[in-house]
Symmetry: C2
Subunit: 198 residues, 2 copies
């Protein structure tokens, strides 16, 4: 927040470089959490030193990339209608954002390794909270199960998305049917049991 305010004078090409670098960082780190500064620089089409010109350390760049991904997430999340039937709302949410969340999983793990303990959760809270609220509302309406902690349900969904991304990356899941598979799986996890059998 400091750099953007106290440094209002920045040349247009620098702005463009930064955009490309952060974007490249997202892409690289999402594929390999151990991606090197040079890997990222190459992907951005700039020299390694140019990267250091804008981001003094690797953690700094990782955080910027994560922040960018989260901003994009917040944006799409904010544009989704979460009212009405919680199941339908969840479907809409997944339809518009599952691939984004899934692809960011590796980036998240990269951040987890280089950022101080609380920092990640601090940044990530916004997005997770909204999902948690939706699930909570669904529980209140009786359409989602209540026999498990909400935290677990939220994270179980996360892990399914992560898994779907991995399966696609490994060529074991057809990207075309991934969306349907993910929504169906998530609905199964969240659904309230039809009857209270043993």
């Amino acid at each position: 927040m400091v750099s953007a305010d106290t440094r209002p004078r920045r040349r247009a090409d620098a702005e463009r470089s930064i955009t490309r670098i952060v974007s490249a960082a997202r892409e690289c780190l999402s594929r390999d959490p151990d991606a090197t500064m040079e890997d990222i620089a190459k992907a951005a089409g700039v020299g390694r030193m140019t990267v250091y010109g804008h981001f003094r350390t690797r953690p700094g760049l990782v955080e910027a990339a994560l922040a960018e991904a989260l901003r994009a997430g917040e944006l799409t999340l904010g544009s989704v209608d979460l009212t009405g039937d919680a199941r339908q709302a969840m479907n809409r949410l997944l339809a518009s954002s599952w691939s984004l969340v899934a692809e960011s999983a590796a980036l998240l793990s990269a951040a987890q390794r280089v950022l101080p303990e609380g920092r990640l959760r601090e940044l990530h809270t916004g997005a997770a909270d909204r999902v948690e609220q939706l699930i909570g509302r669904g529980q209140g309406d009786g359409v989602f199960r209540t026999d498990m902690p909400v935290t677990w349900l939220v994270n179980a969904v996360q892990y399914i998305l992560h898994g779907a991304a991995e399966e696609i990356r490994l060529g074991r899941l057809d990207p075309a049917e991934a969306s349907d598979v993910v929504t169906a799986t998530v609905q199964s996890i969240l659904a309230a049991p039809a009857h209270t059998g043993s």
Copy 2:
């Protein structure tokens, strides 16, 4: 397989060291896939050089640790009764092996990074196949859903187990209730829809 056969002469203390090293490797790599040779040596209570005396390279040690974990897995898997109702069989399977599978997740990812492409799947096939067969049988019996690829179901279960391990590690899931949560979640994913709705 080679070292055990062509080198029948090994002193008892060496045998003990190897056991301790492999065991320590499992433990360390399951907590941190990037665990160092020195970390492992320290955990095993031996010097780093002793480790190199038995495993020339890190990948070699990782493979040995993975093989050990898989052997343990095969052992428990083999002792589980997989006949009868597929759902019950799955519950028995999970009850006896979910924590082992879950804890080995990090080890698996460590292996994925240092072992050549096909090697991991080659080693891991045995265990995965058995789960796949059980799910396939459940589908044939009409108790498990058939609207998704079996491969996806198998891996979705994997990812749930992985997630459960992570949640426990982060203190967000009570180990005492983890078993119930896992089995219930897995059953939800696998269950055939009660009625053929829209």
